[in-house]
């Protein structure tokens, strides 16, 4: 995963990277509740967890997951403008990934949370009629349809 230049650049630019081997740092595995490798977690400076990826993924899928987690970090820390932008970049850059539909859902929620205007929720429900219609995220968004 990490030899891929896009992954390396994204990690280096946006995170404080920590790598822990299961044999030399079992205490860290226990501290963060990691029970399998590879496990990749996004946590804040206090150790609060925002995203977890368990098991190997090819580079494109891994990068999509990382970017989803980076967007969730912005969302859960109240930075809704950046969250929306980051979620939309997952949809735009990885439209066929497993997390694209989830990112589309949360992009709409982020815009709503940032503006207080419910129109983005309706727009998201409409968008799901033509994209990712068979996903659980389309079902969740269906409540917003006009």
């Amino acid at each position: 995963m990490y030899p891929e230049p896009r992954v390396t650049a994204f990690v280096s630019s946006n995170f404080e990277p920590v790598r822990l081997h299961v044999k030399t740092h079992p205490e860290a595995m226990a501290r963060f509740g990691a029970n399998w490798t590879p496990t990749v977690m996004i946590v804040d400076a206090d150790g609060k967890e925002f995203h977890r990826i368990e098991g190997f993924l090819p580079a494109d899928d891994f990068l999509a997951q990382l970017k989803l987690g980076y967007a969730q970090y912005a969302f859960k820390t109240g930075d809704f403008a950046n969250a929306e932008q980051r979620f939309r970049s997952v949809v735009d850059d990885f439209p066929k990934s497993d997390v694209a539909a989830e990112a589309l859902y949360w992009a709409g929620v982020s815009k709503y949370k940032g503006s207080g205007d419910p129109a983005p929720l309706q727009a998201t429900a409409e968008a799901f009629k033509s994209r990712y219609a068979d996903t659980p995220w389309a079902k969740k968004a269906s409540i917003w349809a006009a």
Binding site: P17, V18, V40, A45, G47
Partner: protein, 32 residues
């Protein structure tokens, strides 16, 4: 550009307070 990994979680947390970046924790069994 190689990733500048550390295995010092607490030092990385201190840096994260300054940089305002989240930590990426990679738990691995691969040779390092």
């Amino acid at each position: 550009m190689d990733i500048q990994w550390t295995d010092d979680v607490d030092a990385a947390m201190q840096r994260a307070k300054q940089s305002k970046k989240p930590l990426l924790l990679d738990f691995t069994a691969a040779p390092m």
